[in-house]
């Protein structure tokens, strides 16, 4: 079985803080990490590999330093790592990104494509289903768990607002994974040592077959017209008092608001 996992390097947004004076994001020194949902998806793939034997490839689109997460994936146990990197791919919205990744996937053999549900820097959850459409694959999103019957059928526990669904789909298929469903393994010591000697293939525009008008900034239907820091709200009243007095202040406010 061949599994391709699409992963992304993202700034750890939980480490981003707000400058209380300027109201801007402080991004200096924010670490880059493998996107958590992607890492969950990678763990799904590695568990299938442990149980049934599989050839697991990771692919990422990004700048040269995105190689770091491919090395991390090697240390976790993948067999092949590909970095899709070219200035022509840059500035892409989700649709243009999905076309580029789909073009790369067409060069690979896969029975299963796994992506994270969404990346924490954009939170769109769009690229996975868009890749599935380009490749004419059935999709199952929000996967909390992923099982295989050893033959051709995957069983996915798909989370939704009301509970979950159990969904079966035959290979080839695309699944988007939730980080909350699985605890990713740690990198093995041997894996870490070996990861630096393993080859990371770098694919550029010439490595894939794709119409340049459909990718990158020029191939993106959506554009950012403007971005702005969220307006800061006028600060409310702050009291530093004994608990008894605090309770009286809250009660007074609840009465004022007709809660009680």
């Amino acid at each position: 079985m061949n599994i391709v996992v699409c992963i992304k390097q993202v700034p750890d947004t939980t480490e981003i803080k707000l400058d209380p004076v300027k109201g801007t994001l402080i991004r200096d020194g924010v670490p880059s990490i493998m996107n958590p949902d992607d890492k969950g998806g990678l763990e799904f793939a590695l568990r299938l590999k442990d149980k049934y034997g599989a050839n697991v490839t990771v692919i990422t689109m990004g700048p040269p330093q995105a190689e770091e997460i491919l090395r991390e994936a090697y240390a976790m146990g993948v067999d092949r790592a590909i970095l899709l990197s070219d200035r022509k791919f840059g500035g892409a919205d989700t649709l243009a990104t999905s076309r580029t990744i789909a073009a790369a996937l067409r060069k690979l053999d896969y029975d299963l494509v796994i992506t994270g549900r969404q990346a924490i820097d954009g939170d769109t959850a769009q690229v996975g289903p868009q890749i599935a459409e380009h490749l004419d694959l059935p999709q199952v999103t929000y996967a909390e768990s992923l099982e295989f019957d050893g033959d051709k059928t995957f069983t996915v526990k798909k989370a939704d607002e009301d509970g979950y669904q159990v969904i079966e789909v035959d290979a080839p298929a695309l699944v988007t994974a939730l980080a909350s469903g699985v605890k990713p393994r740690y990198m093995s010591v041997r894996g870490i040592v070996e990861a630096y000697d393993r080859p990371v293939e770098v694919w550029n525009f010439d490595s894939v077959e794709v119409d340049p008008a459909t990718i990158g900034l020029n191939g993106s239907p959506t554009r950012v017209a403007k971005s702005f820091a969220k307006g800061m709200k006028a600060p409310g009243q702050l009291y530093e008092v004994e608990p008894e007095e605090a309770v009286e202040i809250i009660l007074a406010k609840l009465r004022e608001k007709f809660i009680i």
Partner: protein, 330 residues
């Protein structure tokens, strides 16, 4: 593509078990504003099977036209039948704007369609407006919530976006509104229906919808494991629901359905108690639109105080039981 060939504001009227979801009504209200500005119609796209008065409900919430697609294939949501139905409607009718709720359904369907149609999709919008050029301005949070970006899709139609549930205000139904219901037939290609739903499980613990609550008592790391009972006690005395920050959900003290922010829900109750919540950017993004925010935290520099209307620097585990006791006594 000639933009002038495309008109009207379409809303995917999401239903589950035959019930039109509130987010669809919220979107119909917003679509009404946008369509009035454009001088165009609001069209609800209703997909399902034996939906009863759902079409009339869409009209009562602002639709001029309801495209009613009744087919057994559409009784419960799966990606492909829904994508085929809406794709056919987009191809034949050329809407200018298509809006989806940013639910697990809308976020599964929207991107599949955007790739099929070859147009842009903007995720999780919190504000929609019409520009002077009659384009849709789609504003969404980025980087976990504190940076906002306004996105346009100038050269492609339809302009599509998913909108977070609970962000747009739902206006009350106007039962006297008149509209037109048109039945639409879809030419399905069942060969592409490749997923099999074996089971649909409702977890009763998830049935509470914190986005509907008027008052939320929300706990964070400062509350700790033992403190949640105190929060529930306080919530009980004032008829509030309990919610929590991500840390509490990850620690397993409370179910994910009650999480506010980022992967959880966006809430805007009349009153939000932030108890022992420091206020990570992601959490603030999920609750700062609340009408009134009372925050209690030990750390007077906690970011939660930047959005609180009333801030108390103190120990939640002392203040909460005292407050609950006073409320019971009175």
């Amino acid at each position: 593509m000639d933009k002038n060939d495309y008109k009207d504001v379409y809303v995917f009227a999401e239903q589950r078990d035959g019930k039109v979801q509130n987010v669809a009504f919220e979107l119909l209200g917003k679509a009404r504003e946008l369509a009035d500005k454009l001088g165009e119609k609001v069209v609800a796209v209703l997909l399902g099977h034996n939906l009863g008065d759902a079409a009339q409900q869409c009209i009562a919430h602002g639709a001029d036209v309801v495209l009613n697609v009744d087919a057994p294939e559409l009784e419960h949501y799966t990606t492909e039948p829904y994508a085929q139905a809406i794709h056919q409607i987009i191809r034949e009718r050329k809407p200018s704007i298509v809006l989806f709720g940013a639910t697990t359904i809308g976020r599964d369907l929207g991107p599949r369609l955007s790739a099929r149609v070859g147009t842009g999709l903007t995720a999780d919008c919190t504000a929609l407006e019409i520009s002077d050029d009659r384009d849709l301005l789609m504003t969404r949070p980025a980087f976990g919530g504190n940076l906002m970006a306004t996105i346009v899709c100038k050269e492609h139609r339809p302009q599509m976006s998913t909108v977070r549930p609970g962000v747009m205000r739902m206006s009350p139904a106007d039962e006297s509104r008149k509209g037109e219901v048109e039945n639409v037939k879809i030419d399905f290609n069942p060969a592409k229906f490749r997923v099999r739903v074996k089971e649909r499980v409702k977890e009763t613990k998830n049935l509470v919808d914190i986005t509907e609550a008027k008052v939320l008592v929300s706990g964070g790391r400062g509350v700790g494991s033992a403190g949640f009972d105190k929060l529930r006690d306080l919530a009980g005395t004032i008829g509030a629901e309990v919610s929590a920050s991500r840390a509490m959900v990850d620690a397993g003290y409370i179910e994910h359905a009650r999480q506010v922010g980022q992967t959880g829900k966006t809430v805007r109750p009349d009153l939000y108690f932030a108890l022992g919540i420091s206020g990570a950017i992601q959490h603030l993004a999920g609750m700062e639109e609340s009408d009134f925010i009372i925050a209690v935290n030990k750390d007077k520099f906690a970011p939660i105080f930047s959005v609180a209307d009333l801030g108390i620097v103190g120990d939640v585990n002392k203040i909460v039981p005292l407050l609950a006791a006073r409320l019971k006594r009175d």
